[in-house]
Amino acid sequence: MMDTLFTNARLIDPSQNIDGIGYLGIKDGVIALMGLGKPSASNEAHKADEIIDCKGACLAPGIVDMRVQTADPGNEHLEDLATLLRAAAAAGITGLACLPNTQPVIDDASMIDSLTLRASRFGGPRLYVYGAATKNLSGSEMAEIGLMSEAGAVGFCNGVSTIDNSLVMRRALSYCGMLDKVLIQHCEDSDLAAGGEMNEGETSTRLGLLGIPAAAEAIIIDRDLHLVRLTGARYHVAHITTRAGIDAVRRAKREGLPVTADTAPPYFLLNEIAVSTYDTAFKLSPPLRSEDDRHAVIEGLADGTIDAIASDHVPVDGDAKAQPFGPSQPGASGIDTLFALTMALVQQEHISLVRAFELLSLAPASILDIQGGTLVAGSPADLIICRPDVGWMIRGGDFVSSSRFTPFEGTPAQGMIDATYVNGVKIFERSAK
C-alpha cells in the first residue's frame, strides 16, 4: 500500500536511462516502486491512499541547482531565504547549493549550521552550503575547510572570485582532496580581466567597453588542471563559457583527471552581441561570449564535457542595474527560468530529455555527493511533475524570486513545472488557471 501513486506519467530517470510512460509509488517519503506501463490492479502493493493521474506529464527527479547566490544573510532586502526557497520550489528545484559570498562570509562552521537550520524550518527544497575556500574570500589564506566539512559543507569555493594565488589553490585542493570534497573555481584571471566590462572582441571595441578576453578563463583552468595533477583532488569549473576552457576540460577528462564543469543558460542561449544596447540585464559574470563560444558550450553539453547546468542565480535589484553598463552589477535572476531555458536545448534537439535531467539533476547531485537525480526505488522522493512543451512568456515581474532582472525578459520559453515534491511531501503545486 503506497501513500501516493503516480500513474500515466512519462518517467524520466537519467540514472537508469529511462524515458517512458509508467507509474511510481511513494511510501514514507521514499520512492517505493516504479515501473513502465500500468500498475497492476490486482497487486496489493500497487494500491495507494492517493492516486495522481499525471495524464502523460513528465515525472522526473527534482532539479539540483549547484550554483545559487543567496543574499541572506546580509542583504535580505534583495532576497531573503524564504523567498529564495519558495522560488526554487516553484522552479522544480528540490536541492540547491548556495555560494559562501554572504555577509558575513560563510567561512565558519557555525554559519553553515545556521543557514541549513533556518532553511530546514521552511520545509522546502534541501539547502546545501558551500564553504569559503579562503578566509573572508580573500584568496590568500585557507579557511577552516575541515570544520566546515564536518558541519556539512558540500564543497568549497571562493564565491564569485577566483583563487588567483597558485600556492593557496594548491593547498586548498590538497585539503579538499583529503576530505574528499570538491573544490569549485570561478575561472577568471583577475589581472587579465581587471576592469573588464564585457567579452573582449569586436563588440567591446565598437561599444568602447573594456574587454575580458576568453583567455582569462582558459588560463585559470589550465593552471588548475596542473594543480589537480599534483594533488589528485576533485575539481569543478563553475559556469564555463569559452571554447578554450571547454577544450581544456575535455582533454583533462580524457586524461582521467577528476574534473567536472557546469554552465548556465545564458551561455548556451545568448552571445556578446546582446550587450550592443548597453542593456545591463546582459551584464553577467563571466560575460556573455562570442557565438563560437556559445556553440562550444552546446557541444560540451551534448558530448558530456560539461556535466551540469546551474541557474547561476544572483539576487540583484534595480539600483545595481539602473546604471551605465560599466559600473552596473553583473548577474541575473536564474531560478525561475532554469528549467524552461534548459528545455530549449531539448527543443532544438541538441540533447535528449533524459540528458537534460542528467545535467539538471543527476550530475550535480553526484558531483556534490548529495541526494538526487534518480527514481530508483529506495531513494528519497524528490520529484517534479513537469511539462517540457508548455509555453510561457518570461517576465521578470512575474518571478517568484524577488530578483527580477533576467537577460531573457520578454522571451517566450517552453517548460512548465506543475508540482514539486521533497521527501514525498508536495512543496509546490501550480494553481490551475
Binding site: G201, S204, T205, G208, L209, Y278, Q323, F325, G326, P327
Partner: protein, 342 residues
C-alpha cells in the same frame, strides 16, 4: 582661411535646419552619410557667418525659448564652452551643471539626476560621462533630446563632426583623403567617432597605435592598422593625433612617456613621411612632448588645431539646431494628433 568647400562640395539646401532620423545625437554610428553631409553643410554655413561676423546668421533665435542643460561628469573646458557658445548664439537658455560640486558627489546616480532634471523640463541635455553608453542610458529615461558630448571610450560625435568640418573647409572634400589617426585608440572615443565618420564619407582611414593600446578586433572595422608610425603616416594627407588618455590608463600600457614620444609622438622628422602638404590635427588638450612636440603643434602652416576649436562652435550650432528642429516637429505632430487641443 581659404574656403574651397562652396566650390567643390555639392550640397543640398543649407539654409534650413538639418532633419535627423533620430531624436537624439548619441553617436556617429547609425547616422547616414546623408545626415552627416547635411550637418557639415549646415555647419559650414554657420562657420562662414561667424567668420564674416554676419550676425543675422551667426547669432539667431532659432533656439529661443529652448532650455539646454550641459551635464558634464568629466571636466572639460573646450567642449562645454563650445556647446554653451553654440547654444547662446542660437538664442537658447543654457544651464551648466558643475558635477564636481553637485549632488552627484553625494552619491546620486545618473538616473536619479536624470529624473530630477527631467522634472524641470529642459529641451536638450548635453551629457559628458566617463562611462560608455551613459548618453544612451540617459536618453531612455528623459523626455529631453540628448546630445552625447563624449561617453567613456565609446563616442564623441560632435568632435568627429567638427573634425570633418575642419578638414572639409581646408581640403574641400573628405572622400579619398588618406587620414592617419595616431595614438591611444583603445581609450579614445574621438577615434571611434572619427573612424566611423571618415570611413562613412569615403576617406582612407589608417590607425597607428602601440599594440598595447589597440582594441581587440579593430581590423574588423575595415581599416588598416599600423604599429610603426613611419609606415602608418606614409603619404597621409591628414595626421590626426590623439591625446594619450593617461587618466583612463591603468599605467602600464606603455613603458614611459619618453618611449611613447620616441615611437609614437609626432615630430618634424616623422611628419616628413606624410604627404608634402599634410595637415596636423589634435582634439586637445595636448600633452606637448608626449604625443606631439611643440614646434609641430604650433606650425601655423600645417596645424589645424586652432581651426578645430573654431569649427567646434559651428558644428555644434548645426547639431543643436537640427535636434531642436526635431523637437519642434515632434511637438507639432503631437499637437496635430490631439486635434490641436491646447
Amino acid at each position: 582661411m581659404i574656403d574651397k568647400s562652396s566650390k567643390t562640395v555639392a550640397s543640398t539646401d543649407t539654409s534650413a535646419a538639418v532633419a535627423l532620423s533620430s531624436r537624439h545625437l548619441l553617436g556617429i554610428e547609425g547616422m547616414s552619410p546623408l545626415e552627416i553631409r547635411a550637418l557639415l553643410d549646415r555647419g559650414n554655413h554657420f562657420a562662414d557667418a561667424i567668420q564674416n561676423q554676419d550676425n543675422d546668421f551667426a547669432v539667431s533665435d532659432v533656439l529661443k525659448g529652448k532650455t539646454i542643460i550641459n551635464l558634464f561628469y568629466e571636466n572639460s573646458t573646450r567642449t562645454r564652452v563650445s556647446f554653451e557658445l553654440a547654444a547662446k548664439r542660437l538664442g537658447a537658455s543654457v544651464l551648466n551643471i558643475a558635477v564636481a560640486g553637485s549632488s552627484v558627489k553625494k552619491g546620486e546616480t545618473l538616473l536619479d539626476t536624470a529624473t530630477t532634471l527631467n522634472a524641470m523640463h529642459p529641451d536638450i541635455l548635453v551629457i559628458r560621462h566617463n562611462c560608455s553608453g551613459a548618453a544612451q542610458l540617459l536618453s531612455q529615461h528623459v523626455d529631453a533630446a540628448v546630445i552625447n558630448a563624449g561617453d567613456g571610450r565609446h563616442e564623441h560625435p560632435t568632435q568627429a563632426l567638427l573634425d570633418a568640418l575642419t578638414i572639409r573647409r581646408r581640403m574641400g572634400h573628405i572622400e579619398g583623403l588618406k587620414i592617419t589617426i595616431c595614438g591611444d585608440i583603445a581609450n579614445s572615443r574621438v577615434a571611434r567617432s572619427n573612424i566611423q565618420l571618415l570611413a562613412s564619407l569615403g576617406a582612407e582611414v589608417r590607425l597607428v597605435c602601440p599594440a598595447t593600446l589597440l582594441p581587440a578586433a579593430i581590423d574588423q572595422l575595415g581599416i588598416d592598422v599600423f604599429t610603426n608610425m613611419e609606415e602608418g603616416i606614409y603619404g597621409a594627407d591628414i595626421v590626426m593625433m590623439l591625446r594619450l588618455q593617461t587618466e583612463r590608463m591603468a599605467g602600464t600600457e606603455t613603458p614611459s612617456q619618453r618611449e611613447y614620444f620616441n615611437l609614437f609622438g609626432l615630430d618634424q622628422a616623422k611628419l616628413m613621411r606624410a604627404a608634402p602638404e599634410a595637415l596636423i590635427m589634435h582634439p586637445g588638450p595636448m600633452n606637448r612632448g608626449v604625443e606631439i612636440d611643440s614646434a609641430t603643434a604650433d606650425d601655423a602652416d600645417k596645424s589645424l588645431i586652432r581651426t578645430q576649436v573654431e569649427m567646434g562652435v559651428a558644428a555644434r550650432m548645426a547639431c543643436l539646431e537640427a535636434i531642436a528642429s526635431g523637437i519642434d516637429k515632434s511637438r507639432h505632430a503631437k499637437a496635430g494628433k490631439s486635434g490641436g487641443a491646447s
